[in-house]
Symmetry: C2
Subunit: 370 residues, 2 copies
């Protein structure tokens, strides 16, 4: 049997009671005693943080419209991924997380549903919701809810990519303001990476979607792409991705498998940085990127060096947000988290620009940013 | 500190991982391995029962509109009760249950929300939703979902009441077809109790709401009351509750505290059965009912004999429904469960008509009804 299927037999998640139920305490845990807790919270809603699991509890919400790199599979197929995330939340961050996979992909309905279930949760982790709906859903929920809302495919990825690039630039001794970065993919991850890199001061970014580079005047772009077209692509380049790689210093792929070959990488500047993050098959395999002359190569996979893995961020991020009752996770905070993550690698090398997911220092360092 | 508040510090519930996360199995639990599980479920949705926690997982859904006997307190105050129920689900039935308290009391919205979150759950336990919305919500969800939907305040209560009455009638040696039963309260519990008693063959039932007895021709009744008015109150009695107790054999109160006194009970037939179930303060205290001549007295409380407690039913009921993949819990099955529950008390006496919640035989016997 496939080892992943084997380890998931019967599911990976459970609910547990933190109190031992006995004949003696039944009336304190349940009726009539529990009425006192209900009344205490009715008097002061804030007490829900003290007297229920709300302060530790995150909803992992997905509509299954962008399941990993597999596409729009729907609710049930998204469930094992949300379960896996809940396992990481718990094991790495000590955060209780509950998967909620939704039988709708209407962004307005998703917003209403999350707003409705929010009272029982201390935070909302949005997951595997396709662009552009993910932008609308996150934006609306950030406005309407008083708890942290974080779309991990956007910001988890963007934070880890930035952390990796901070160290990669150190290794190749280049400056963020001077480098040319090409991003392939303008979905949830690509848009968020571009936004965060801009915020961090990257001077020259070109973003590609399947139709070509985001550029001023293009007619077929959504709101987010239009906004980024104004802030990126300073030379208003209109050629192909392959052409854009000419003299590029950084390639970040969050698009699709086997997009590039060694010849493409050869066109890049010396000491090139290649983040080929499509999952499970990257835009270019590390060996081919190396053959093309790339000095630093990262993928989304654990079987190669430099794994760019969201799991580096979300457990510690929610741990910190919940503990500090921070609801607004703004770009400044995201950059601080990326810098803390990068700083955990004391002497970055081409083979080691980012910590390992299982490194216990990671969630602690990230939670300490709050 | 209040002992209920003390035992609930930090909440009573947690999520736990059933797999040990290691550097070696991270790629099987999470990406890339989890993609295989998503694809397996995408090919065959049924696999979600095998490869996720769905087969063990129940959503406890409440809008907080009828929190215990406390009234419409809203979502957050309902949360500790749903947590307590989740503890009982787990400890008594081995069922994983997740509280979902909703920030809406619109029945159509509740239906939409539950339908949307349903893919992640093997069953839906509705809880503390006020009548008449609870009827609409349950009815709609039973039609639209393929998993068991059970409103515990209705049917959990009705099943335990029926079980208690089966044994009580044995003790007082009366026949269900011959007795006169007065039900006080025509909310979720009262309506469901009446429906189940009718189904079981009780011949003479009069149901009271705050306006008087349900009776043919009354103009101020909702759909459910109208339906019951046709099947109950055979003499079309129109007097008061106190008057109705004259020559009654059974009183079942699911209404409000301190409704009756000893004098009222004295009007009842010999060997009277009094179930005073308002929580936390019953319609009449056991001592007063005894003084009035009642032979069998039950309450909702654990500090008196004969506790009519929903917790006797829901853990075993969902355990059985999940294990057998039963989605329709019809009246026939409810009666079977009530009979099994009653049968656990081998020699019923006035002091013991119903098993204890902590009796491990209870959930096993109920699950075995499926």
């Amino acid at each position: 049997m496939n080892p992943s299927l084997k380890i998931s037999q019967g599911g990976k998640l459970g609910v547990n009671s933190r109190v031992k139920l006995t004949a003696e305490n039944l009336n304190k845990i349940y009726t009539p005693g529990v009425a006192d807790i209900a009344e205490a919270i009715a008097k002061d809603e804030e007490k829900a943080y003290e007297l229920t699991w709300k302060s530790r509890n995150v909803a992992i919400v997905s509509d299954g419209s962008a399941v990993l790199g597999l596409g729009n599979l729907g609710a049930e197929p998204a469930l094992p991924i949300m379960e896996a995330k809940a396992v990481l939340f718990k094991e790495l961050g000590g955060v209780d997380a509950v998967p909620l996979v939704l039988n709708t992909q209407d962004p307005r309905e998703i917003v209403k549903i999350v707003e409705a279930v929010a009272p029982g949760f201390g935070g909302i982790n949005l997951e595997d919701i396709a662009a552009p709906n993910c932008f609308f859903v996150e934006e609306q929920l950030k406005k309407s809810l008083k708890i942290p809302v974080f779309h991990d495919d956007q910001w988890g990825t963007a934070i880890v990519v930035l952390a990796g690039l901070i160290n990669a630039l150190k290794v190749v001794n280049k400056n963020r303001q001077m480098v040319k970065a090409v991003i392939s993919g303008a979905g949830a991850a690509g848009i968020a990476i571009a936004r965060l890199l801009l915020e961090f001061g990257f001077g020259n970014i070109i973003i590609f979607d399947s139709q070509g580079p985001l550029a001023k005047g293009r007619k077929d772009m959504n709101k987010e792409k239009k906004e980024l077209a104004l802030k990126t692509n300073p030379e208003n380049f209109k050629g192909t991705l392959r052409e854009a790689l000419f003299k590029a210093d950084i390639f970040v792929g969050v698009s699709r498998a086997k997009l590039l070959n060694s010849q493409d990488i050869k066109k890049m500047n010396k000491r090139a940085i290649v983040f080929a993050l499509a999952n499970p098959t990257p835009e270019i395999m590390p060996e081919a990127a190396k053959k093309g002359g790339a000095e630093i190569i990262a993928t989304g996979r654990s079987d190669f060096p430099n794994q760019i893995n969201n799991a580096l961020v979300f457990p510690g991020l929610f741990k910190g947000a919940l503990a500090s009752r921070t609801s607004l996770i703004d770009n400044k905070l995201k950059i601080k988290i990326a810098e803390s993550l990068a700083a955990l690698v004391q002497n970055p090398t081409s083979a080691k620009i980012i910590p390992k997911v299982m490194d216990k220092k990671v969630p602690r360092a990230i939670a300490a940013c709050f």
